[in-house]
């Protein structure tokens, strides 16, 4: 087996810089934060309201943020609602994490022209991807980025497309002030408080007629951005208010996942009848893998023009829920929906530990909310745990 390097990718923010203190800035100052990032050449991507959902898109002013909006999520449903305040980050999560920006759904790998003596590989336009600042990154999303870093940067091979986008991204985390109905980051220790990997971390506080942010920097460049804002040292009361908000979110997780011995539980129940049960409900539509911030799988497609002289190689997101995914001559390895759901769940919660040292799930709940039939992985695991070790034969004779 090849050795895998477990060290941090070289570009991840350095451990805490000198500026450890938490400061406060008021809501009117928020525009300056956006302006400051833009002035440094960052294209700021943040939450916006589009087509009834929260979508991460380019933002240039705080008005474009989801002011006064919140979201409600439960199994198979997601909707936006009005809040009775003007919070900028008063929601939980949108359907898509930052994955489309770092690991785009389609990438042209290269193109070539049929040559006489050789394959004429044409250079890709050298344009660098934009320098992004992600605004409003949730704790679970930071963990998801760290997980994809291991996939694309942490092994023997480095993915140049991911690296070019990932390098230099400025990350503004916003701790969650409310947990969604499908959230369970607290079970996986991935949230709701961002603890690593950010340049800046904010808590939004709306209390007693005041609207302000408690901010801390995680890197030198984060501290520099903060220095350009008009900030005050946070008072003990303000810090307490900020901490209360995050603690409250932690106490109100909509879902829960018991992670004790999870990998072993799923591995020894590989033939559990629950897999048949869930396969009866699963449409194998692949929604869960598309919205999941950690799923990384892709396929490669060949596109040729009419003359047949030019070919392009495109990499596209793929999903282990399709039959073609595991196709080898003679048929698919995972022909049954049962085996495909099992691949998904056991990859997330068991084999990912072997491959990358963590779970492949960060507890964001997207796969629950965006499953058309509301399949809930925490419920599937609970069902298996309840009847740990049962086989189909035993169940039939019971």
């Amino acid at each position: 087996m090849t050795q895998r390097r477990q060290n941090r990718p070289p570009h991840s923010p350095s451990p805490r810089a000198a500026d450890r203190g938490r400061v406060r800035f008021d809501r009117p100052e928020f525009g300056r934060l956006l302006g400051g990032l833009a002035a440094q050449g960052y294209q700021v991507i943040g939450p916006t309201v589009r087509d009834g959902a929260l979508v991460y898109a380019s933002v240039t002013s705080p008005d474009e943020l989801p002011v006064g909006w919140t979201d409600e999520q439960t199994g198979g449903s997601y909707c936006l609602k009005r809040r009775n305040d003007a919070a900028l980050f008063g929601y939980t999560l949108g359907p898509q994490a930052w994955k489309p920006y770092l690991h785009p759904p389609t990438v042209r790998l290269w193109r070539a022209r049929a040559g006489h003596r050789e394959l004429d590989r044409l250079p890709e336009p050298a344009a660098d991807p934009p320098k992004y600042a992600f605004l409003g990154v949730r704790a679970c999303e930071l963990q998801a980025i760290a997980i994809q870093d291991k996939v694309f940067l942490g092994g023997d091979f480095v993915d140049p497309w991911y690296r070019r986008r990932r390098e230099g991204v400025f990350l503004v985390a916003v701790h969650c002030g409310q947990a969604g109905g499908t959230c369970f980051c607290a079970s996986l220790n991935t949230g709701p408080k961002a603890t690593f990997g950010f340049d800046l971390a904010l808590t939004e506080v709306i209390e007693a007629g005041r609207h302000y942010f408690v901010a801390e920097s995680g890197t030198d460049r984060g501290a520099a951005v903060l220095r350009d804002l008009s900030t005050q040292p946070a008072t003990p009361a303000e810090l307490a208010a900020a901490d209360r908000i995050v603690a409250d979110a932690a106490a109100h997780m909509g879902r829960e996942l018991d992670t004790r011995g999870l990998k072993e539980l799923l591995t020894r129940n590989y033939e559990h009848p629950r897999w048949d049960d869930v396969a009866g409900r699963c449409l194998t539509c692949a929604n869960c893998t598309m919205v999941c911030p950690t799923c990384f799988c892709t396929t490669v497609e060949e596109v040729t023009d009419l003359t047949g002289e030019h070919a392009q190689r495109w990499r596209k997101w793929d999903s282990c829920f399709t039959t073609e995914f595991s196709f080898i001559h003679g048929g698919s390895v995972r022909a049954s929906p049962r085996s495909r759901y099992r691949q998904w769940l056991t990859h997330k919660l068991a084999t990912w530990y072997d491959q990358f040292g963590t779970a492949g799930c960060v507890g964001c709940g997207r796969c629950i909310a965006w499953c058309p039939v509301g399949i809930d992985l925490t419920e599937e695991v609970r069902a298996i745990r309840r009847s740990d070790g049962v086989t189909l034969a035993q169940q039939l004779t019971a």
Partner: protein, 288 residues
């Protein structure tokens, strides 16, 4: 217009793992009805292609697609590259149509290799089924090149019919050697076949090797490997001494696309060659 194309596979791959190097077809040799061997040479004739027995390349046919194919040539002759392929679908069909001079894209070599060094001072049993002989041939070349370092060397080969036997003349030559035992068997015999009939696992029981001091290298269809492993263990070969080459769908060969997963393993980088004791808990399961 030639650009970032670098025929020295390994280095280019480290920079851009999806970059292909141009190789020209020198020869296409028909082997059996549905198999053929491509002899490839880097367009930049100076380059050498270093690889270890059991590794594979991703071969790209212009305008059609890219597939994993094992290297079947002699690792000690790195100037030409052989790939023996069975025609089963779109890309392999297009590959068979290639004429001498045609250009292919090559990425590689990828994956783990047969533990040829570990075989030293031991008996070596090579069990191959069908096209599974192709990735084992480089191991045989390596072993035969330093034959005195090994104990008994036994090749057990199973094919569907006598007409499907791969590398037939080479097998005849090997069979004539005193230092290599070759046993072939076919599922279905035809008139004129005087050899064994039956599955290759049937040969294991009587093959001459010292089970306690043997390394086994196995490649073939997954079902054949499961039975082979059972037979080898029944003879007393330890799991740690049995190595298999697994096959899964592959789109990238470098651990990014996820297609080749087999339980916790990425067959492209943790394999394709695995030691049995690492796989055992998964090999017995279906639809993994």
């Amino acid at each position: 217009m030639r650009t970032d194309l670098d025929p020295r596979g390994a280095e280019a791959t480290a920079l851009d793992p999806m970059a292909v190097a141009s190789y020209a077809v020198r020869r296409l040799k028909g082997e059996t009805d549905d198999t053929f061997t491509l002899e490839l040479q880097p367009v930049d004739g100076a380059a050498r292609f270093s690889f270890a027995p059991g590794q594979f390349n991703m071969l790209y046919v212009f305008g059609v697609g890219e597939i994993p194919i094992s290297i079947s040539s002699d690792p000690l002759k790195p100037k030409t590259l052989w790939h023996t392929t069975r025609e089963v679908g779109t890309v392999t069909r297009a590959m068979r149509q290639l004429k001498p001079g045609a250009v292919l894209g090559v990425r590689g070599p990828f994956g783990t290799h047969w533990p040829v060094d570990e075989c030293e001072a031991k008996d070596v049993v090579i069990v191959a089924g069908g096209i599974g002989l192709a990735p084992l041939r480089p191991a045989l070349y390596r072993i035969l090149a330093q034959r005195d370092r090994y104990g008994r060397v036994v090749l057990l080969y199973g094919a569907r019919t006598p007409a499907d036997i791969l590398y037939r003349s080479e097998l005849e030559r090997w069979r004539a050697r005193f230092d290599l035992e070759v046993y072939a068997t076919v599922d279905r015999a035809m008139s004129g076949w005087r050899g064994n009939v039956g599955v290759v696992t049937g040969l294991i029981g009587r093959a001459p090797f010292d089970a306690l001091n043997t390394v086994a290298l196995v490649c073939g269809p997954e079902v054949m490997m499961r039975f082979t492993v059972q037979e080898l263990q029944r003879r007393g070969v330890r799991a740690q001494a049995i190595h298999l080459s697994m096959e899964r769908n592959m789109k990238c060969a470098v651990g990014f696309c996820g297609h080749c997963q087999f339980g916790p393993w990425f067959v492209c980088k943790d394999g394709p060659v695995f030691r049995l004791d690492r796989l055992r808990e998964w090999l017995g399961k279906w639809e993994v």
